[in-house]
Symmetry: D2
Subunit: 342 residues, 4 copies
Amino acid sequence: MNFSSDNWAGASQPVMDALTRHNHGFAPAYGTDPLTDRITQRFRDLFETDVSVYFTATGTAANALSMAACARPGGLILASETAHLHCDEWGAAEFYTHGMKIVPLSAPEGRIAPEAVSEALERFGQASRFGAPAAMSLTQATECGMVYSPAEVAALTEQAHARGLVCHMDGARFANALVHLGASPAEMTWKAGIDVLSFGGTKNGCWCAEAIVVFNPEALPHLATHRARAGHLFSKSRFVAAQFDGYFEGDHWLDLAGRANGAAARLARGIDESGRARVAWSTQANEVFAVLTKAQIEKLRGEGALFHEWSREGCAADEHVVRLVASFATTDDEVDRFISLL
Amino acid sequence: MNFSSDNWAGASQPVMDALTRHNHGFAPAYGTDPLTDRITQRFRDLFETDVSVYFTATGTAANALSMAACARPGGLILASETAHLHCDEWGAAEFYTHGMKIVPLSAPEGRIAPEAVSEALERFGQASRFGAPAAMSLTQATECGMVYSPAEVAALTEQAHARGLVCHMDGARFANALVHLGASPAEMTWKAGIDVLSFGGTKNGCWCAEAIVVFNPEALPHLATHRARAGHLFSKSRFVAAQFDGYFEGDHWLDLAGRANGAAARLARGIDESGRARVAWSTQANEVFAVLTKAQIEKLRGEGALFHEWSREGCAADEHVVRLVASFATTDDEVDRFISLL
Amino acid sequence: MNFSSDNWAGASQPVMDALTRHNHGFAPAYGTDPLTDRITQRFRDLFETDVSVYFTATGTAANALSMAACARPGGLILASETAHLHCDEWGAAEFYTHGMKIVPLSAPEGRIAPEAVSEALERFGQASRFGAPAAMSLTQATECGMVYSPAEVAALTEQAHARGLVCHMDGARFANALVHLGASPAEMTWKAGIDVLSFGGTKNGCWCAEAIVVFNPEALPHLATHRARAGHLFSKSRFVAAQFDGYFEGDHWLDLAGRANGAAARLARGIDESGRARVAWSTQANEVFAVLTKAQIEKLRGEGALFHEWSREGCAADEHVVRLVASFATTDDEVDRFISLL
Amino acid sequence: MNFSSDNWAGASQPVMDALTRHNHGFAPAYGTDPLTDRITQRFRDLFETDVSVYFTATGTAANALSMAACARPGGLILASETAHLHCDEWGAAEFYTHGMKIVPLSAPEGRIAPEAVSEALERFGQASRFGAPAAMSLTQATECGMVYSPAEVAALTEQAHARGLVCHMDGARFANALVHLGASPAEMTWKAGIDVLSFGGTKNGCWCAEAIVVFNPEALPHLATHRARAGHLFSKSRFVAAQFDGYFEGDHWLDLAGRANGAAARLARGIDESGRARVAWSTQANEVFAVLTKAQIEKLRGEGALFHEWSREGCAADEHVVRLVASFATTDDEVDRFISLL
């Protein structure tokens, strides 16, 4: 019953097989190999446009390097108050941008409210000594497991573009959002005004495969050198490419996300129907937020369940919101056992 | 006949097997998993002392983060004029240290001369407006394929420590040097005064396994946070650990380095005995530097040989020094074919 | 009727006289001149302890360099939500610290509440991926014109020191606070736990005289080099020293601050007694915050009064809080004319 | 007999008078005052084009902020091997540019040789992992007291612009060069391809008046914010403007430079005619480089002469090149006494 995080899972078998399959012979280093080229083309097909693709070691690197490439002195990054980029990356974005401030915006269930963007844009004009907005970052699916519709994304990016901001999407759980929406990758991103995407594979069945996908290269000059200078250009790049090869083949990535989302839905349904607990808000991707009593938390942990406490929002005195993350490797048995213990 | 670089090779079979072997179940993220712990212990055994170990995605990251952790304003890094850290890392060390200068020292065949260190230490006192020396970085084996003896390392670090410098070793080809010397890892590092080591596995048969090994933690405060903030803390750290597991098992890493060094030796011998070309200097690890005529270079390339031009040091008008790198994957056939073409 | 800011005034006559007086002959550059030495000693006498003193060009530089010298990766700066360091310095602190985050604390009238500190310290432990508190910055007098008592300062620094934070005081209006409190400089600073002070002279009658005063040099290593590297070491340092010479002589600085505080008090009293408007909160130093109607604001500006709008806190629909800053150069006539227009 | 440096002198009387003259009433802060506007216009008249002007506290700040505004990752700064920017500014340029490398070019008597530029441009292409050239910095007059002709400047900037570099001139001793050349400020700068100039007033009779003068604003985006964020925007900007007012009035600045250059010429002539020593190279601005014996150096110092030792270039065993700097405040008596002691 491991609901700690989707990055506790290993790699899926097809991803491992692809690693093995591509491990032969010599290949040019630093991303100039044919497999990296082929996978880059694959990203172009997937997003139905001419993208640049930069593999990185981690999602933190993908986020922070995206910000670095559009940084300017006194710039501000608008992001949700729960954004991973802000709350969970050791100040990487500030470091890589040489000190841009992140302005945390009100974001119920992780989704930035359009009013929060307009208010921030109004508040910080070009002459503000606090700083001037330079970029906006959305997380899709959000850190609270919710998903923006393409129209919701477009409503935010339209405001941001009108003021010259670069629009970034943190897609650590991009596949989970995609499966939920049933939209196309293009609709979820550049068609909705996204300039640059952190495309995550690690949480969804790769072991180390992240990519910065750039739709608007003019907005992010020098990104290639930013990455290389930061030590994020793999010499044996083909092994990241290999993972993506296995990941994309036969829509394997969508299967993986479908399994994770399905497990989360089963879990949410079970909690709701148990009559013993409730979900804190609805479940759209692969994360369930549930209100449990402290006694329940203790008991479940005693039986081996692993999960994190999230907040005390909307809780009674003896309650806590917990986060339960499903991954492709989560089994129905685990879910059902958790429910039955409840 | 691929002598471009040892990072053009793939991963060795035992390393791939270890990846597969450890890909099951869940494991805590961000380096807190049992396998990472076990491999850290393995490093301690290997180096016969209590080291801290930080995996990174690339050697550039390992070098630059080591420098970051001992950076200070106005600090200088003493390094050889051919140091990878200086010449081939896109200014990563300067970026991560917020602008420390690298002072390139005279280094015949990549080995820093003791006089070059004493001269630099004398030239830049604490009050220099140019800067004051803060760290020294040696590469072992050097970028020219030569190896420092432990006594040579000690002679340099003694001078450096007397002035309070932190001593770093770039061990991208540590195994190749080790096999050549027949010394112990401890003798090559902390017993010779090294405070921190970039331990490379990638060039010697891993696909992505680098580690910062710290012998003197007081000299490198906040290294863990430096790494995390830079996006170099893998969430699924166990997969780097897995590579090292396969790498170390049964002294596999020494076999790999032995194969690479052996291929280089065979190549050097062949060139010498050919009577048609000469080695530029002796071959100690897995790199051969040979003086070829331009006609020879053209012909060999026409036949499919891959290698880089290095310099024109000690060359006649129609000659060039080329670098020929052997890896664990280099075969005797390739070597012999190269010689026969010559 | 110029109540825009105290940095709109010029220099006081004794400060100008001192500049002229010390402008003869040659003096060593970069702060090694006898006058700089003498003024440093003056600071030691003033603060009754052995301080290091670093002149800077601006208060922003003094604040940001103080933070730079105690920066660490992933560090957090606790400061009030209205702190100049956070709101009005173009991200200087983030830039100089290579991206430390500022955590804005609830601060009624600019004074950080002790609970806000304890809450922040509890929330961000050493293992937080958001960051770990490294420094706390208080402004004295606050941006809202209020003054911490030494006991209040001590209550905050005690908490902070217990967790290893460096305690900084932004003393852009230090003299105004000092005059209000009737305490000694020592009582207001190191005796109350302050490690480093930005000592401002510019707003109180100098034209460009700011100093970083260090009480705890171990907590701020390399500060001298931080300053020099940032281009904040004046070659003709003696001219800053000269200003301080005029500033301190015969307690001139306290006279200046007394005049400014007196003008502010007269203004606050006038507003209160006018029956037409009210002060938003009490006046302790040289800034008055008054609630005016929009009609009043318009009328006063039409008559030539200069001041900034501050907030809408506690205001009715047609009201606004305005900030009225008095300086040593403010005359009773100006104040009385403002009141009579009201 | 003070020949230490021109920054050991005070301020000239007209500059001090201007400070006093402009010290009345209130003026808007942060460079928005009418006097700053007027002086900016004065710079436009002087340079016969529409320039942006940014006052800074020091020449180091002017240089480093110029570099900051044209920085890019992996960028290289081409500068002379004796450039103040490289050798004497505590790594400020590296700090402000987040780690650009400075490539020191061969520069006889401080003047960069055209071949050194072409060689560097050829050596470091866009794909170099060492870095790619982004800016070139010339010092006028050079650190060795020599002056580039406008044609020589143009020959260097033409090469640099062909590769997209930004061309900077460090004019710490701009007036001294101008007086020597008899050229116009425009001819010395933008007409010869300079994009940005550090215009120094401090060494030539101001006490703290430096300005970044931008001819090509597109090449240096965000410079205003770079300066503000670094704490180099004076709140009472009018006092820097006031110094420039006195400095420019009635060509006072050219008188000052003429006096300094004249004193240097007298000194050089005296040394040459003494038969006891020789100048190391010719004297064009306000610095004399002379070869003295160690006995002479000792004797002169014993009699109170102040100067720095420079190098041992072209010296016999018991000789040393010393640097003798004249300023506007140097008297004929001092010069003659020095010569007679010789």
